[in-house]
Amino acid sequence: MDVDIGSVSLMDLLLKNQIEGPKLNGSLRVERVYGKSSTTRSYATYPLQFMIPKKALPSHVDAVLVYALTFGGGIVSGDCIFFELNVGADSTMMLLTQGFTNVSIQEGCVLIKLIFLLVILRLALLVFPNLLCSSVKGLPQSQIYLESLIQEPHMHKVYKSVEGKMSRHILKCSVESGGLLALLPDSVVCFATARYSQVQRFNLAPDASLVLVDWLTSGRIARGEVWNFEYFKSTNHVYIQEDTPLLLDSVCLDDHLSPSVSERMGDYHVIAMIFIYGPRLAELRKLVQSNVEKLAGGILNNRRRTSSSRADQVQTPKQNPSAPAFLASCSTVGPLGDGLVIRAAATTTRSMYGFLREQLATLEPILGRFPYADN
């Protein structure tokens, strides 16, 4: 979608989309084959890896479960992970990035084979140091990759920035008529001094469905790295038939602006956005909307009463004691108001997991499992 007015393109002025240019690391297509959602194309190059465990979901559920992982368990500075997902008509795909610790036995068998392969690879690297030099600069980094992969292959870890370079992630998705894409990744975790930019572009048919979760924690809290990264930007663009913009959202946390990210975020350690759209998710959308509206109203009412409220498992913020420990709000989007955006902020990761689990529980019949259930 581009409007040329004079010599300057409108999209150039307003939106800096960076889809063209970087090399494609992976491509995945799911479509209906003999009445069942099946993977018809799966291609990934280093450092990206797709894992598609068979029999991971109950047999009555028609969906394909995909794990997207990276060698090294994250994205180093200077790297760009760019892949595309295509969901064919009337099929269902769920993309996760959860770590090894939260898998079932069937998935475990595939993973054990993968670990074995990686150990062999590591030994090979000792002998041939230049084996993995495509986007890896030298041996030490690749060793770090392998070690961290075996411990915790969390794709959304963003390592520190070297020489001011960015870590990038680009995702291009299309969902055809009647298809459903559930993008339910783990939160992005930016290490100290990291610089990260993520662009996710979705092209939906008018009756396609999408549920998207995009969230960020303050960093490696246990190590004391709290809002210590330099730059974070997450862009989500959802279009209907390439033409009508449904959601054009961008969250940017830039530590170079004043006040610093840490000052601005205060005691909140997690922020999240959920986007729900489509006829197959209409019930979920209405349910979540009423839940979140009640929750938001409840937060305001508690403040008005000024009595210490909801002292259950969440801690009260220290910087601003009158601020609530959990905030959530929702808005409808789109020309017909049939999309829903939910935004939440929490002081603990645990409470955010709980919120996501609670709101997305009704996806279980469609996807065959409860999202964010294992934490």
Binding site: I5, L10, L13, P245, N320, A323, P324, L327, S331
Partner: protein, 256 residues
């Protein structure tokens, strides 16, 4: 008194003499600025200072656009306990303006550079998808519609405004948002891009502090003091977020 001031005074008093409505008086004054022969006989004296009259009129509370209806989220922040005193209000105002600058200033700039209906329709479509918060979206539409109604009535020398107003009635009605329309209006009036963007931020700050006074978070004198204190920071925001991006501006993580 200069010739300009004399003539303006004459025009306003003439309007009063004839018991014209306030809007007609405004029209007469602006008519003077763009077509001097309406009132005086001499050649048009268009000095750089004459643009100030238009700019000040757009920012004045007298301009009937209902600009004070929007609190930029201050009301909810206050109810939610995030803003309770002057210090938290200042923090809120700066953060809110930073958000507003990042989101809206490119639209003000684009409207200013291409003040025509086709571009305006496209900008509305894009901004409608970017304003994901329904309260902010409704406020932008309210302010935009009000500004369109007022501008098409006051600045009659621009038929483009009437054309745009007609678009907002059409069956496939566009969503007239505030920022692009303000940019287009400034573009038509000949206000430069930087002044247009600065004016937009000024209005944002004005509206937040006006809401703060009405909510009793701060008194009118304190609000005025705060406005003066924040002015410097807001100018920095303008430099960081205004279009076209100035040297050193962070464009998707890369410093130019």
């Amino acid at each position: 008194m200069t010739t300009e001031q004399n003539s303006t005074n004459a025009a306003v008093s003439r309007a009063e003499d004839h018991n014209l409505s306030r809007e007609c008086a405004l029209k007469l004054v602006t008519g003077f600025l763009t077509d001097v022969s309406v009132i005086t006989d001499g050649p048009p004296i268009v000095q750089s200072g004459s643009m100030d009259w238009t700019t000040w009129q757009l920012l004045d509370s007298l301009f009937p656009t209902g600009g004070f209806a929007h609190s930029y989220g201050l009301e909810t922040a206050y109810q939610g306990g995030l803003v309770s005193d002057c210090a938290s209000l200042e923090r809120f105002a700066v953060n809110s303006l930073q958000n507003s600058a990042g989101l809206s200033l490119p639209f003000v700039f684009a409207g200013n550079k291409f003040p025509n209906t086709e571009c305006w329709l496209e900008l509305n479509k894009i901004l409608h998808a970017m304003l994901t918060n329904h309260v902010a979206r409704k406020a932008s539409l309210t302010q935009g519609s009000a500004l369109l109604r007022t501008a098409s009535t006051v600045f009659t020398e621009f038929p483009e405004l009437k054309k745009m107003r007609a678009c907002s009635y059409a069956p496939t009605a566009t969503t007239p948002h505030h920022a692009p329309l303000f940019g287009v209006l400034c573009g038509l009036l000949g206000v430069d891009a930087v002044t247009a963007q600065r004016s937009y931020l000024f209005m944002g700050l004005r509206d937040i502090l006006s809401a703060a006074t009405r909510l009793n978070i701060t008194g009118p004198l304190e609000a005025a003091k705060l406005q003066h204190q924040i002015a410097g920071v807001t100018e920095t925001l303008l430099t960081s977020f205004s279009s076209p991006p100035s040297k050193g501006f962070l464009l998707d993580g890369h410093y130019s």
